[in-house]
Symmetry: C2
Subunit: 386 residues, 2 copies
């Protein structure tokens, strides 16, 4: 790294799992990064700590009440904004070069678009942005000539595998999946799965929503759709491979039958650091996989019957239009209902399937159509909940 280059960052979702890991990377390389702005939700205690450590010039919180509370706690000049307008404002915050988009769920879409429209490079951890509005986002990326760098470990892997190769030589994406905590469980027992079981992921430390998505394999389904848009590959050329150790983060097969893979320990910092430092690599000096201790890397076919969410995602991707947005919204609602103890584990795919079956699709080239489909799915699933 050239020592004199310092990237100016805005971190959206700074108190979440990706946000914290992003700031942990930044803290290790203070000469390379400067935090200009932070957006959190409701975790003011952590946000206050982050403000003290990274000294941003602007922060955003969920609502006016939290903004006022924050004003009481901070005793130096700091621009404080809040709510949807606040998130969009801070995403486009002029001093920043790059926005780390790590707000969870559909809420990440508008701020991410705002960052792209403002010409910022975006490190994208929010997969809903591409799932809901992939065409709109990729069109904006091209128009604004910004870099959209994936932070998901799988998409970072694919991105790294494509470096130094020609896009037209890509034959197939091999997207690895840990298989989640219920990979080896008998399907008959799925009805008894409680949130606390689903939250225990075998290899990755993640937030609640994404942990449930990993347990249903919807996370992998959303990643298929994300990869479809990000790398402009048909979903039929994206193959999911279950790989329980999560060491191979994904692979790309080229037209000459050569496969390039990216491997690493299951730790988000690798993908985050790559997005922050691209096209260079930071001397992270993390642990590397110990092949002698691992002894073997295992691969299995995904079970689409046990995990219907994965099949639903492929189906929504293939149908296109506003189907992926409906898939995503219905999933968010269903996962929350499961976490709240209102529905069972296998009700998640059932509700999503029902939403997709009842949806009247529209073209997804207009944001209004996407947001409308998103809202329609949320309302529909709400009605169907017990």
């Amino acid at each position: 790294m050239k020592d004199h280059i310092s990237k100016k960052l805005t971190v959206l979702g700074s108190t979440g799992s990706i946000g914290k890991n992003t700031l942990a990377v930044v803290e290790r390389f203070p000469e390379h990064y400067q935090v200009e702005a932070l957006a959190a939700g409701t975790n003011l205690n952590l946000l206050c700590d982050q403000i003290e450590t990274f000294k941003p010039k602007c922060v955003c919180v969920l609502d006016e009440r939290r903004a006022n509370e924050l004003k009481q706690r901070i005793h130096h000049p700091l621009e404080i904004v809040y709510g949807p307008d606040g998130y969009q404002y801070i995403a486009a915050y002029p001093p920043s070069d790059m926005v780390v988009s790590a707000i969870v769920g559909a809420a990440g879409l508008l701020p991410t678009l705002s960052a792209i429209q403002a010409g910022k490079d975006v490190a994208l951890a929010n997969k809903e942005t591409l799932v809901m509005a992939g065409d709109i986002v990729m069109h904006a990326v091209e128009e604004k000539k910004i870099r959209l760098l994936p932070v998901d470990s799988e998409h970072s892997a694919i991105f790294q595998c494509l470096e130094g190769n020609r896009r037209q030589e890509l034959d197939k994406i091999l997207l690895t999946a840990s298989g989640g905590p219920f990979r080896s469980m008998d399907q008959a027992k799925f009805k008894d799965i409680q949130p606390e079981h689903a939250l225990k992921h075998p290899t990755w430390q993640m937030g609640k929503k994404i942990s449930i998505d990993s347990a249903t394999l919807m996370n992998k389904g959303l990643e298929v759709i994300e990869a479809h848009f990000l790398f402009d590959v048909a979903e039929s050329d994206i193959q999911v491979i279950v790989h329980p150790q999560s060491i191979v983060h994904s692979m790309v097969a080229f037209c000459d039958s050569s496969i390039i893979a990216q491997l690493g320990v299951p730790d988000m910092k690798g993908a985050i650091a790559y997005a922050l430092s691209y096209p260079e690599r930071l001397p992270l000096k993390q642990p590397v996989p110990d092949f002698f201790a691992l002894k073997s890397l295992d691969f299995y076919e995904p079970d689409f019957k046990k995990f219907p969410c994965l099949a639903l995602a492929y189906d929504a991707c293939q149908k296109g239009k506003t189907f992926p947005a409906v898939l995503n919204a219905a999933n968010e609602m269903a996962v929350q209902a499961f976490l709240d103890g209102k529905i069972g584990f296998m009700d998640i795919p059932s509700l999503i399937e029902k939403a997709l079956a009842n949806h009247s699709p529209e073209d997804a080239m207009e944001l209004s159509a996407v947001l409308h489909a998103d809202q329609w799915a949320r309302d529909a699933v709400s009605e169907w909940l017990p």
Copy 2:
């Protein structure tokens, strides 16, 4: 591939394993390649077939007798040369853009240097060239600004993993080894190993010399030295990993703890095609590894005690100077003696060790010193043979 580009090739060692595979690739893409010259040894029947198929303008054979025999058999104008001068002449043959250097053993060194000096890009399958004279060769490559493209599947893998990355970010090379046919055999039984056992390689189809080298792990040792020179990496940063399935062809670990790996079925055509078409990839449409059928990829620590040749190679690489040339020459002599039934399997490392112990090293920046060390080792081992 751009259809109008046609590369003009000289193939040194056209009747050997790599040579035949090279021509098989060329035959599939006649619009991309034109064979200008072929060099073989003694297999005139195959050479005649190749002449008919590829219509080279110049060919080289081992000696005057074979040159005369060939003249009798070819009834159209064809420049026929022979012997050491012939190989050097054809390696520098003016019409060619690229030389595939696939002569086995130390005999490949001078023609390869001749090709580099003539400003040809070189696809290098002859690892002895770099083992014997790595400093000289890499210096010439730099001076002549030619491309030296590895054809060994491991080095092609490393080369592919480095594409799109910065050399200074390379942390470690993870060189995979099949482990050869005696990986799981009790060391006590090694004394009974006969050439026919050693020639049965579990995953790769190769020539005799390299098959024995694979059985002793000297092949991997030579590859460590080759990688050391080709990628300018200390041998202590090259780690051999035994991987019996030969699917992962090698890996590179970078400073951010990200590992990039190249995978493929064990078939030389992949690496050959990559060298021929670099920086593009040919639509080879070979089989790709089937991860669901493979189920797992296994990794083991190499056993330096069971396979002392590997330790000897590391040692020679670390000592530098003319030690690698001696290692290589002593190995060639010992392997031939083993194939001839004169010595046992475990006499191979003993003879090499003795040669290294008795060698008075010189700097390896002069070709004369290298050739002198090579000859000294051959004479010494000859004397020690029963």
